[in-house]
Symmetry: C2
DNA sequence: GTTGTGTGTCAACAGCCGTTGGCATACGGT
DNA sequence: ACCGTATGCCAACGGCTGTTGACACACAAC
């Protein structure tokens, strides 16, 4: 976003901006929105707190920048219909383990209204539209996506936030093999009663 | 706890204590741990903030009292083994809809370490021991309980915290019919791979 | 070299927070 | 009627927070 838009004028402060963003993501992920203070984030980035204000306007603005996120869902039309569940869990797990942005967003979503809405938007928009790509009953796609979100977010909550021992100890592959059938049924199973 | 232990000496302040606790649960459920201020809770209870300190010692103490919770899981040995999932979801949904304590605990668990540990304890102890009552492979009971927790907590997170529209709109019975088979498989299904 | 602009530091403000101690009042036992 | 105790309010403290404005320095353009 920063360097790519103005390649001729790379700002000297781009490194600082990036350092702030990285520290912010760490703190938000570890402490949640209200406990993560601008002073602590600035200290992590070895910079004065006022710089954060200058570059991101406010704490809300900083969080908005730090929680920018794209699920990068794969093209589900290219997946055989009986493997949808497995592909989805595997993708989400990889996305979660490799990027703390989602953990930051999830932690903050419980207390910060803005974060809640962003989380809701991500899963309502990106996931629902992905589910809609393969043709099922349009009236059902929304709740199929909602149910998938409930299991995916429950997985993340118990593994990364609450850290329930069995959920932490299981390997990604074990988690996939247990939860893939669940998602598969939510996605393609017959509507229940 | 208060009146029952000393039935001969009902404190005159029991009503105040209860009012504080009720207001605290509401605020913690609505705002989370850090945004729920003692001043706001005291105002809701129409009382001075210092009273909260006198009766509960500190904000942590107040939260500990407000988040006291028992899942009251039914005796699963009395349930036919193919109905375990349905019974469990129905019980949890009823417990969640009727008592905001769990929502308060869940909201706080994302940011407050004490709340996280309590949540972990509740689901690790109460749920695991309930799952252990009907005889399955003891080596698997912990992860079965963990998986059940992931779907149950994911349900609560998407319905009561993030408020994903499809998860909010579904009736409890619809939720039961969709998720009961999931829990059933986590509880009694064959170990995957 | 001068000027202008971007980058960074420092000190401080106002506000809210949890928490404390003192003081008034009402109650219950004798 | 008296006294100890419980209950409640009030004012204030110290600390931390997001945020702001003034000031110092570095760099690029001309």
């Amino acid at each position: 976003m920063t360097a790519s838009t103005h390649p001729a004028h790379p700002r000297r402060s781009d490194a600082t901006r990036a350092a702030i963003l990285r520290a912010a993501r760490e703190r938000f992920a570890a402490d949640g929105y209200e406990r993560a203070t601008i002073r602590a984030i600035a200290a992590d980035a070895r910079i004065d707190p006022s710089m954060v204000m200058r570059y991101y306007g406010s704490k809300e603005g900083l969080f908005a920048a730090a929680a920018e996120f794209d699920l990068r869902l794969p093209d589900l039309t290219a997946v055989s219909s009986e493997q949808l569940g497995e592909v989805l869990v595997r993708h989400f797990l990889a996305r979660w383990e490799g990027d703390e942005t989602l953990v930051a967003l999830l932690r903050a979503a419980s207390t910060n209204p803005g974060a809640t809405e962003r989380m809701r938007g991500i899963f309502a928009d990106q996931l629902t539209s992905a589910v809609a790509t393969f043709g099922t009953d349009p009236a059902l796609t929304a709740r199929r996506a909602g149910l998938v979100a409930s299991q995916i977010l429950g997985l993340a909550l118990t593994r990364y936030i609450v850290r329930l021992p069995p959920m932490v100890d299981m390997t990604p592959e074990e988690l996939v093999s247990w939860t893939a059938p669940t998602l598969q049924r939510y996605l393609t199973g017959l509507p229940q009663t």
